[in-house]
């Protein structure tokens, strides 16, 4: 018996042992998830994003001037917990829900998203009512008190500086080089750069996600209506989009943000979201043009289903692929836009942001201050790069026709 024969007989035996079972049907999202994870680059990208998400969620515990616990006059207290803002608490609740769902694994992806959203909405009111951090915060007090012996015992976070802990009373702490005390040095205001870096990941991630969500919602609504109703609606909608797109997005952003006096993170999200929806609308319109003629849409109309269900359940589910892929790139560009605006000094006021840090690096005087410039620059680059890696893997997973043959 030759080797080949032996091999083939082994294969036959293996085939006989395992009867040919069709693979179990997987939903589109689960299939995409598996195929995306098959790419090494996507895994690296996701790992970076997960790390960033971890920093973002636990920033108040990783870099905080307030000790976790301290003992004053024999009484223990936890300033770190007391100083959590309602937004921090809400974020922790949402994260806990995500972790529970990830372990439990009983709900489908879309239902999980729905549940998380529901938990956040339901928890928002009580959290904002009940969580009231002290208004006047004194950051350096704890260090002074510990040195003077007023605080008997205290456990601090790994980075014992809040981003707003600017050591204003210590001019010599400004523009310090990296040292054991300040791992990445301090900025022009004397704030710890590493602390800023960690806290700024919250802004980057939340602006990326929420601004993109806003633009996807607007784009999907407009694109769906244009693609389904065609004719006059499409004509008017398309001209509106063209007018909108004729203005470069950055100029539009700069103009709008310059007009707004009170710029907080939510305004920034809304502004970035409201200026970047046109791509999604175009994508969805084009997809709907082909889908609306398909038999199952006709069948759904013939079954008497309301238009909203036909549009957003039957048609959207089949048009989601390009939207999903461009969403990942959209998050990356939203992060970039936020950084650009902050760098230009028309972004967030008094919040840790990578773009604002870059501006700080420049404001130091001659040229860039390297220890302030490199960390946020690298963070922006790596995050945008990570989103692009994930986006490309997702596109390959969702559209096998585009996949490169090797």
């Amino acid at each position: 018996m030759s080797i080949e024969q032996a091999e083939s007989s082994q294969m036959l035996a293996a085939a006989a042992a395992e009867p040919a079972m069709p693979p179990p049907a997987r939903s589109l999202i689960r299939q995409a998830y598996h195929d995306t994870l098959a790419s090494v680059l996507a895994r690296i990208g996701l790992a970076w994003l997960f790390m960033l998400a971890f920093f973002a969620v636990f920033a108040p515990f990783l870099a905080d001037s307030h000790p976790y616990v301290m003992k004053v006059n024999g009484r223990w207290s936890s300033p770190a917990l007391i100083h959590l803002t309602p937004a921090d608490v809400l974020l922790l609740i949402a994260t806990a829900t995500v972790v529970v769902l990830a372990i439990w694994r009983r709900l489908s992806f879309l239902r999980s998203l729905g549940l998380i959203a529901a938990v956040v909405v339901v928890a928002a009111a009580p959290v904002y009512l009940l969580v009231r951090p002290p208004v006047n915060v004194d950051y350096s007090q704890y260090r002074d008190d510990l040195a003077s012996g007023k605080i008997q015992k205290a456990i601090f976070a790994p980075v014992p500086y809040s981003p707003r802990d600017r050591l204003r009373d210590q001019p010599e702490a400004r523009l310090e080089k990296p040292s054991r005390r300040h791992w990445l040095g301090t900025d022009t205001n004397g704030a710890d750069v590493f602390s800023l870096l960690l806290h700024a990941s919250r802004i980057a991630l939340s602006i990326g996600f929420i601004a993109t969500s806003i633009s996807v919602v607007i784009g999907v609504l407009v694109g769906a209506v244009m693609g389904y109703y065609v004719g006059t609606v499409d004509l008017l909608g398309m001209r509106a989009i063209e007018i909108f797109e004729a203005i470069p997005q950055l100029f539009l952003l700069i103009t709008i943000t310059a007009l707004i006096q009170d710029r907080n993170i939510y305004v920034m999200m809304a502004v970035i979201g409201a200026t970047s929806w046109t791509g999604y609308a175009r994508f969805l319109r084009a997809e709907f043009f082909t889908i609306r003629k398909l038999d199952y849409v006709q069948a759904a109309v013939a079954a008497g289903l309301p238009t909203r269900i036909i549009l957003f359940r039957h048609m959207l589910a089949n048009a989601l692929t390009p939207i999903l892929v461009s969403t990942t790139f959209g998050v990356a560009s939203a992060i970039l836009y936020e950084s650009i605006l902050s760098f230009l000094g028309i972004g967030l006021v008094d919040e840790a942001s990578w773009g604002a840090m870059l501006q700080q690096a420049r404001a130091g005087g001659a040229g860039f201050v390297l220890w302030i410039a490199i960390p946020p620059g690298a963070a922006i680059f790596l995050t945008v790069f990570a989103y692009n890696l994930v986006g490309e893997a997702l596109r390959d997973a969702l559209d096998p026709k585009l996949r490169k043959r090797d």
Binding site: A25, G231, D295, Y296, Q298, A299, A302, A303, I309, A317
Partner: protein, 406 residues
């Protein structure tokens, strides 16, 4: 859930009704194209009684599908529009006058439709269970759990094995025949009064065709629903229909009971159709065909749309030329001839009346409508909306030593 006796009673009352369930009067539908208005449906009249199967036959492009779609108001508007006529449905009045919202409650609930292509008529991203349940919850207002029971029951009714497991499968896991069964299950899950089947078996294997048609017959007997069967297959008509409407060039040209039509066709087009079907047991060198082609709706000939292909008018013209013309009694045709050209450019003579006057559908014999000038008693016959409350006798199949006799 209704108990079976009450449903049986409902079937009885439905069958006992002497009013037609659906009555189409002089329906005309037009499509605006950039080369002008085309009229795929012109003054079509027909009626469907409870528990009856009405077949609409004709070549491709004769308007039978558009007629079916316009009953459910599924014509894409624009470019399509109804130019005139009425579609009266029992208990709903004229469907053309209903609002879009009222129409949605007719679709799927009172009138269901199954399409030609089972492969593409189901939404690929949802399980078939989800798709049946969607329509059931919408039209019957039951809970999701109850709807799944109904869905399972209806899959069982259409002869799908292991319906509980099948509910959670995706369309791509099923064969064409199975999918058509699912479409039928979906259409029948809300117990419609009328099922429009637009070439339900064209895309299927011949063996599967027979199974699907047998299934439709069985479900019709059980539920007493009416079927409007759109087909171009005379074999399907002979086996399934109670009443037949023959369409040619966007008009109904003959309407009669299936027995009467097959035994005594009145219209020359119907005669031509029968001659072009090969017969078992008779040997012929060539199959007879109807000369020429179906006219393009952009360039319908004047007069009777069939006259360039009609053997009857040609024979009469030859007789007129030789001076021996004897027309059937009760007709009023001047002995004049006109020149005509067929689609291949051949010139010949036809009766002038055929080339100038378009005949309308008239009841030329009791219970037999035809639209041809050269038909006995055509002039005196009333031009009425065809109504035939006729159902074929159900003859049980006798299996006799391997040969099936009906």
């Amino acid at each position: 859930m209704r108990s079976i006796p009450s449903f049986a009673k409902e079937i009885e009352t439905r069958m006992a009704q002497k009013q037609p369930l659906l009555e189409i009067k002089n329906l005309s539908v037009g499509f605006d194209t950039n080369r002008g208005l085309i009229r795929p449906v012109r003054e079509v009249s027909l009626s469907v009684y409870p528990g009856q199967t009405v077949a609409l036959v004709g070549e491709s492009g004769c308007g039978k599908s558009v007629t079916a779609l316009s009953i459910l108001r599924l014509i894409p508007q624009p470019p399509g529009r109804v130019l005139g006529g009425q579609i009266n449905f029992e208990g709903r009045g004229n469907l053309l006058d209903l609002s879009e919202k009222e129409m949605r409650s007719v679709r799927g609930k009172d009138i269901a439709m199954i399409f030609q292509e089972p492969m593409t008529s189901l939404n690929p991203v949802y399980t078939i269970g989800d798709q049946i349940v969607e329509a059931v919850t919408l039209h019957q207002g039951v809970s999701t759990r109850k709807a799944y029971e109904i869905a399972e029951e209806s899959l069982n009714d259409v002869g799908i094995s292991d319906p509980h497991r099948r509910l959670r499968e995706y369309p791509h896991q099923m064969s064409g025949g199975m999918r058509q069964r699912v479409m039928i299950a979906m259409a029948l899950s809300c117990k419609p009064k009328l099922l429009i089947a637009d070439e339900p078996t064209t895309a299927l294997d011949v063996t599967i065709q027979a199974q699907i048609l047998e299934l439709l017959r069985k479900l019709q007997r059980e539920r007493g629903m009416s079927i409007l069967l759109i087909t171009h297959d005379l074999g399907v008509v002979a086996e399934n229909a109670d009443v037949v409407g023959v369409m040619y060039a966007s008009r109904v040209v003959e309407f009669a009971t299936v027995e009467d039509l097959f035994d005594h066709p009145q219209h020359p087009y119907t005669e031509g159709l029968f001659k072009s079907v090969p017969k078992l047991g008779s040997r012929a060198e060539r199959l007879e065909t109807i000369p020429g082609m179906v006219p393009n709706p952009m360039r319908f000939p004047a007069g009777c749309k069939f006259h360039p292909r009609c053997h009857r008018t040609r024979a009469c013209a030859v007789a007129v030329e030789s001076g021996q013309a004897i027309f059937p009694a009760g007709t009023n045709i001047p002995k004049e001839i006109a020149a005509a050209t067929d689609s291949e450019g051949q010139r010949f003579s036809v009766l002038k009346k055929c080339a100038t006057d378009e005949p309308t559908l008239r009841e030329v014999k009791p219970q037999h409508w035809s639209a041809c000038h050269v038909t006995e008693n055509f002039e005196q016959s009333p031009a009425s909306v065809p109504q035939l409350d006729h159902r074929r006798e159900v003859v049980p199949m006798i299996v006799d030593e391997g040969t099936i006799t009906v």
